[in-house]
């Protein structure tokens, strides 16, 4: 027998935020005549202790089995009211919130009468939906306690170490045959002056000896399936395939140095990159008498709009190194803007100037020209072109996204930004997480970073990744897709193809091929429900019937 629906409506004044612009009394009176509504209360602040207690009391005394609060935004207050319902013994998903403040009183401050009519409609729509709400239970699932780190550069190694030290089993995959990444090509690190290769080797040694880290070199990832807590990874090492499971994934795939082919007469000998300069340092073959460095080569232009951030400090560091090695060598740095943030970096810039490095600003509309034995640049202050002698030109080129980024983003179903770097879940609130749960990022994979930044990001990402690992179980909001009509599903797989989270799969059961929702992976966006032509799928609390009822409730009176 169907239960009798008993809805309680609470209309909040929000002090004068709502009551100052809408006729709240009329709203409360109106709510009383709506179908299934058995109890209405007007509160000064529904979210206050008083208001909360009134809701609890009404649920118990009036036998309410649906609660509607007409107040502010669910973004801030839905969890509170849901909790209130739960405390009073009512399933928290039998609660509906109507926003008559942000969507009504605040935006119709001059139109009390019309605003009140609109608020009545919004309440009517909310009540209509509430009548169709169904109880939901939170979803729990066990975690695979292992971790995967992709990329064996400084960020990847650090993340793997951090996770390994916490006691989790970690697989570290590196596509080349050697750990260390970009550091292996560098000479010294600013601002400490530490030897880059030594730093990389030291960390690599620790990784290799760590009992919890399983190292896979020369390995490519072929396929990743699953979701947080239950990823299935297939990889191949020199043609031999391996498969393993993991609970979380850290992406630390790094970046490449842009090769300035065709720019400023780049030839790898007399016109070289900063990276090649460091290789010259390492080999001890540095002998130039006049060095001109050009900044922002291939960066901050139409093709690559971003600033690679680290190249200024690389240039300053190398300029100092030249001056220290051979003080009589002239070093000129042609720049657009200098990025030397932080106290140590600013000090290095000062040190370079003290050592006699000359910094000359150039205008991108009038870029320097490299000619035999000289560089010609338009000097803004002098207002004319000047000639700088050179026997070595060093180009500061940006870091660009790794060539595998696109492939990896498809494997993991995570996003890239316009420059093909990986895109974090939220610029401010989730800088080390992807939008997809259980996948994290750090280091150059995200954006050009110094070693220090890459290491702190790696430690942060490892820390983020260990939160679900340490819980052991995942608990997820039940606002997810559900297969509501198994018979209607024909197992066509269109929904599976469209799901951005890999939260759907086709399984062959007694009734043939049917879709199955993996609730812990589902985020409840509803693309599947909006696509299924047999309406076999629906989203909890946002079903076709519930949305349809809202539409009808809105239009029934105006029609």
């Amino acid at each position: 027998m169907a239960e009798q629906i008993r809805i309680g409506v609470f209309v909040c004044n929000c002090g004068s935020n709502i009551a100052g612009y809408l006729d709240v009394k009329a709203l409360a009176e109106y709510a009383k005549i709506l179908p299934h509504v058995v109890f209405v209360r007007e509160n000064l602040y529904t979210c206050s202790e008083n208001g909360i207690n009134e809701i609890k009391a009404a649920i118990k005394e009036q036998g309410l089995n649906r609660v509607v609060v007409a107040s502010c935004t669910p973004r801030t207050h839905e969890p509170l009211f849901r909790g209130t319902c739960a405390e009073a013994g009512l399933n928290p998903y039998l609660f509906e919130m109507v926003n008559i403040r942000d969507q009504c009183s605040w935006v119709h401050m001059q139109e009390k009468e019309k605003g009140t009519t609109k608020a009545k409609d919004l309440i009517r729509m909310g009540v209509a939906k509430a009548a169709l709400l169904k109880p939901q239970e939170p979803i729990q699932s066990e975690m695979d306690p292992r971790a995967l780190v992709i990329g064996g550069g400084i960020a990847g190694m650090t993340a793997a170490m951090a996770l390994g030290n916490r006691g989790y089993e970690v697989t570290l995959i590196e596509k080349s045959g050697e750990l260390g990444g970009l550091l292996l090509k560098l000479d010294k690190l600013a601002p400490s002056g530490a030897d880059a290769v030594a730093v990389a080797r030291k960390q690599a040694d620790l990784v290799r000896r760590h009992p919890n880290i399983h190292l896979l070199l020369s390995t490519h990832i072929d396929e990743v399936n699953g979701y947080i807590g239950h990823f299935q990874v297939s990889a191949s090492t020199n043609g031999s395939k391996t498969q393993f499971g993991t609970g979380v994934i850290v992406v630390a795939t790094g970046a490449r140095v842009f090769r300035p082919a065709g720019l400023y007469g780049y030839d790898g000998e007399k016109v070289i990159t900063q990276l090649e300069l460091e290789e010259v340092f390492k080999s001890g073959a540095f002998a130039a008498k006049n060095v001109v460095m050009i900044q922002c080569v291939g960066a901050r232009n139409d093709e690559r709009k971003y600033c690679s951030r680290i190249c200024c400090m690389v240039a300053i560091k190398n300029a100092i190194e030249i001056k220290e090695k051979s003080p009589e060598t002239g070093v000129k740095v042609l720049y657009r803007d200098i990025q030397a943030y932080g106290t140590e970096n600013e000090a290095l810039l000062q040190r370079a100037k003290e050592l006699g490095v000359i910094f000359i600003k150039y205008d991108p509309a009038r870029p320097p020209r490299v000619e035999a034995g000289k560089v010609i640049v338009h000097h803004d202050l002098l207002g004319r072109e000047i000639e700088l002698p050179q026997d070595l030109v060093v180009l500061s080129t940006p870091l660009v996204a790794g060539e595998d980024n696109e492939a990896i983003s498809k494997l993991l179903r995570v996003s890239l930004d316009a420059n093909k770097f990986f895109l974090e879940g939220h610029v401010k609130l989730k800088p080390l997480d992807f939008a997809t749960d259980g996948i994290y990022l750090c280091g150059n994979a995200h954006y050009p970073a110094t070693v220090r930044e890459a290491v702190s990001q790696a430690l942060g990402a490892a820390s983020r990744a260990s939160i679900p690992l340490s819980k052991g179980v995942m608990s997820v909001e039940p606002i997810v897709s559900t297969l509501v009509d198994e018979d209607a599903c024909r197992g066509c797989g269109l929904c599976v193809a469209l799901c951005p989270y890999g939260a759907l799969e086709i399984v062959r059961g007694e009734k043939g091929r049917k879709v199955r929702v993996i609730p812990v992976a589902c985020k409840g966006c509803g693309i599947c429900a909006a696509t299924c032509y047999h309406h076999a799928l629906s989203v909890n609390s946002y079903s076709d019937a519930q949305i349809g009822e809202q539409i009808r409730a809105f239009l029934e009176e105006s029609a």
């Binding site: 090769r259 082919a261 065709g262 139409d302 093709e303």
Partner: protein, 559 residues
Amino acid sequence: MQVSDKQVIIFGGDPAGIAAAIEQAEAGRRVVLVETSPALGAGRIPQTHLLNGNSTWADPNFEAAKKHPNIRIITNAVVEKASAKDGSYTFRIRRKTGRVDPEKCDGCRECIRVCPINMYDDFNEGIGFRTAIDFFNPDTGDFNIFREDMPVCQATCPANLDIRSYVGNIADGEYAKSLAIIRQNLPFPLAIGRVCPHPCESACNRGYMDEPISICTLKRFVADYEMKNGLTAPVEIPDEFHREKVAIIGAGPAGLSCAYFLGRAGYHSVVFEALAEPGGMFRYGIPEYRLPTPTLMHEINWILSHGAELRCNTRIGRDISYEEIVKQFDAVFIGVGAHKGMKLQIKGEDMEGVVDGVDFLREVNGGKKWPAKGKVIVVGGGNVAMDAARVSWREGFEEVHVLYRRTKKEMPASPWEIDAAEQEGVKFQYLVAPIEVVGNNGKMTGLKCLRMALGEADASGRRRPVPIEGSEFIAEAETLIPAIGQAPDLGFVPDDGRLNISRRNTFVVDKSNYMTNVEGIFSAGDVETGPDIAIRACAGGRKAAEGIVRYLEARRAKG
């Protein structure tokens, strides 16, 4: 059974074709049966069986032919090319795409129910629809996906540009994408967009309805858009180049296309050019008003940034020997074009005042001011003659006459060029042929001509002009420009007879890789095809570059 080594080919898999195949096979011959539709016996089904819809029709021979050991059945195929030599025939047969796995298809017809694409049903002469995936006829089954073949425009274009995609992208406002598609096959959108006689537009299906899509002008538009807005065209070359180097002789459309595609594949090239500036016929054959030099140079500079080095004023055989080049480089591409004008083969042709069309255009395009005075007669009806006439008019000749021995209808020049010449005041004399240059003291004063009438059609399908007896007359003129065709100048090739040269003074190449009979020597463009349109030379340059890459790879693999 005795199987003879003679093969018989039968076109058409209808009952008669099947019967003939079995007859020939039984007689001991090997039979190839070619059918255009996806199934044998699909085309002709006895009317009685069609009317009696439910009975399954099967020719008893049908199964026998399928199982016969001597019969090879090729369905879903068309004959592309046939040639006969010494009583034997060679056919090139192209199989159309087959996208249904006959092993797996059980004929459930579910695909027909869901396929959203309705097509013209050729089995029912368009009375109903056929879906894109369908059986070919109700009795034989045999499902297939009917895919559109290569669009006619793309098939007609010598460079096989993906016209549909790049025009579609222009419609979407995706100009960069559009250019990227063009540049996959052609590095010269600016130049070709201006000069191409666009055979694609003549083939365009839209022409049957109203007017063809303006493919050529659209290409020019999108390339101009990039240039005029100062956008940089991306240079797509690999980070590392291979160590082999390729010599390219001739910086024309073919040579520069070859250099471009070699650069994209990671090979450096050195382009040798006899004249002062690169561009070949683009630079020295096509007048400034059709293709401005700055525009051309803009494009050429971009092409050269793909790892190509240009050496102008370097004529092979004068500045560097052919043998030297062959010794220094790992492969050689010859694209010297056809710059030698054909002689009229009439008396007095060596008199002062007679200048060949290509020579005239080269001089003027090279910046020489022509001493234009009095009347000029241009002989010929092709685009070179039109260019020569229109340039003469611009150079300041008082009167410009074009003599052509057939009528306007037979003229091979592009109609818009003829119209433009007429508009500019060039006078056309049709059905006139020159027979002698007359003059004083070795200086020309006039041209003796003969009137013609049109006779029977010749091998090219055009009606052959026949002289009218006694119709001689003398046309007074100070200058004569014969423009009746060009041939390659192969003077630099050592006459050791090693390089295979055709009767028309062109190189003979293997069309699969554009290699001449001498290993490592490749050729394309006018020097290989004879005088032809620019885009065919570009296409040849690309295909030769592909051939060179394969050749060098194979050589490296051998060690």
